[in-house]
């Protein structure tokens, strides 16, 4: 069980630009969180504090009992896994198998446990037939799967996915959303940084909206898509189905319809 806590976080980059200012938030084990906002709003800066990739300029960040100021990424990564938006920033091993094994070796697992985990995770992500292949020979979707699988194999309590569906086609998005559901069933905390509103609406239950370095909204997707002022200020567009149900008067002023299947039931 790992609770994440951010107290009065401020982050100023070496070039003097303040990226996050005065953010307070706590996240319990097992929540599905999305972090949204325009590029440059501070959302990636915020989430990078949870695995120690960035340290607070001011304020405190706790991963469980660990103050991230006092612990390195290596230690924090056992609890919080971070999947990069661009798999090329993460993958470096010469084969898919080596890539999947790397983190497991790093956290000191015995060899037979490593083998079992690699077998299971490669099956789950459809990578079994590519184990001996160089990841860079794979297409973008599969390479993204390798990046995700190598982090999930370490079984961290918290998994951060940075723009998981960007550049993916329909089937790629479907596969990623299925993995998120599975992590949720396993009781993991999932934090998604995303512009993909159907994903935010259907697969997460709490949204943090960042705008010009500040956290301006912390609530459910249903509440967010009914809050016109926040949508306008951040240029967020609700899923088409949400707008439709609102326009025909089938959703209340404070609650939104979030998916096609929900709309089919309510209409």
């Amino acid at each position: 069980m790992t609770e994440l806590k951010v107290e009065n976080l401020k982050h100023v980059y070496p070039n003097g630009v303040t990226a996050v200012n005065g953010v307070n938030v706590s996240i319990s084990q097992g929540e599905q969180i999305s972090v949204v906002g325009q590029n440059g709003s501070g959302k990636t800066t915020l989430v990078k504090h949870w695995n120690g990739l960035l340290k607070p300029t001011d304020g405190k960040v706790f991963v469980g009992d660990l103050d991230t100021h006092e612990h390195s990424v290596n230690v924090l990564a056992r609890t919080v896994g971070y999947v990069f938006q661009n798999p090329n920033h993460q993958i470096f091993a010469a084969s898919v198998k080596d890539e999947l094994e790397f983190g497991l070796k790093n956290i000191g697992l015995p060899e037979d446990e490593i083998n079992t985990r690699v077998e299971h995770i490669s099956e789950e992500f459809g990578l079994t037939e590519f184990l001996e292949v160089n990841p860079y020979r794979l297409g973008f979707s599969l390479r993204k799967s390798v990046g995700m699988a190598s982090i999930i194999a370490m079984e961290p309590d918290v998994i951060i996915l940075d723009e998981p569906t960007t550049g993916q086609d329909y089937l790629g998005i479907k596969a990623i959303r299925a993995s998120i559901k599975k992590l949720k069933e396993q009781g993991k905390t999932v934090i998604v940084v995303s512009h993909d509103m159907p994903l935010v609406a259907e697969d997460t239950n709490r949204v943090l909206v960042m705008c010009e370095t500040e956290l301006i909204f912390d609530g459910s997707p249903s509440e967010l898509f009914a809050t016109e002022s926040i949508l306008k200020r951040t240029n967020l567009l609700p899923p088409q189905i949400t707008s439709f149900m609102h326009k025909i008067g089938k959703s209340s002023a404070s609650e939104s319809i979030l998916s096609v299947s929900e709309a089919i039931d309510k209409i």
Binding site: N39, T166, H195, Q240
Partner: protein, 276 residues
């Protein structure tokens, strides 16, 4: 009047086992807005790159069949020469930037074509205005937002006064504001300036609003072709097979046919066709 004519086009990249395009036939008229849809690897990029001649002139491939763009045969003329008539925009605008200022960036293509200074300045002014980047002339192309960079790439193409714009997933790396900026500029270039637009895109809700014609590719072959209203309702039951999602309102109406007069593909159609 057709500006693009492709007949039985087959493309196989050098050293690859599979055909990237396999017998594609397509005709695009002047002023049309055409969207190319399909899963990764279906052939969308190859089709775009064949229309501007980058395949096979810069990326080596065997090409069979007939391809004609504005009366030219792309494989037979230099890419740079065709670029004056056919502007191309790719998914990663940063890779297209090389100059120190926005002005120089837009000037580059024109200087390469040997256009005189007065015309260059006039064209730069006009094209920056079309994409809403007036006043950005002295800014660095690397210090503006992703949406602004993509509009700058469009301005560079527009300065050469092209008749066709080819856009290969132009918004896939942009945030919502950036996407909206690029789509609305593309739409006004098509509607107001009469440019023919060919765009490969995954955002089906936007495509349904804009496109006159959608072309679905699968394994290098065209499997569907028609208006969004003709095609999207017919693929509701095979989205997985085709590798493309349908607009959410189309999916809803297909499941609740009795509540809709027709199957909509856009939000406004859905509101209109809903029987309240």
């Amino acid at each position: 009047m057709s500006v693009i004519k492709v007949e039985n086009l087959t493309v196989q990249y050098t050293g690859e086992e599979h055909k990237a395009l396999d017998g594609v036939s397509l005709e695009i008229n002047k002023g049309e807005f055409v969207a190319i849809l399909g899963a990764h690897g279906a052939g969308k990029t190859t089709l775009c790159l064949s229309l501007n001649g980058i395949v096979p002139n810069m990326i080596s491939a065997d090409m069979y069949g007939m391809i004609e763009v504005l009366g030219e045969i792309p494989p037979k003329i230099p890419v740079r020469q065709l670029a004056a008539k056919v502007g191309s925009i790719f998914d990663n605008p940063e890779f297209q930037m090389s100059q120190l200022t926005v002005f120089e960036e837009v000037a580059l293509g024109l200087q390469n074509l040997g256009v005189d200074k007065v015309t260059i300045e006039k064209n730069i002014k006009e094209s920056l205005k079309l994409v809403g980047l007036e006043g950005f002339e002295e800014r660095s192309p690397f210090e503006i937002s992703g949406g602004q960079q993509q509009r700058l790439a469009m301005a560079s193409a527009l300065a050469m006064k092209p008749e066709i714009l080819i856009l290969d997933e132009p918004t896939s790396n942009l945030d919502p504001i950036g996407k909206e900026e690029v789509f609305s500029v593309t739409r006004s270039l098509n509607r107001e300036e009469g440019l023919t637009v060919v765009i490969a895109e995954h955002e089906v809700e936007v495509i349904s609003e804009f496109a006159d014609q959608v072309v679905f590719l699968e394994n290098g072959k065209i499997i569907e072709k028609g208006t969004p209203s003709e095609i999207f309702p017919t693929i509701v039951d095979r989205q997985e097979l085709v590798g493309v999602r349908v607009p959410q309102v189309t999916e809803l109406a297909s499941n609740k046919r009795n509540l809709f007069k027709t199957i909509p593909v856009t939000l406004s159609q859905a509101v209109e066709s809903y029987k309240s």
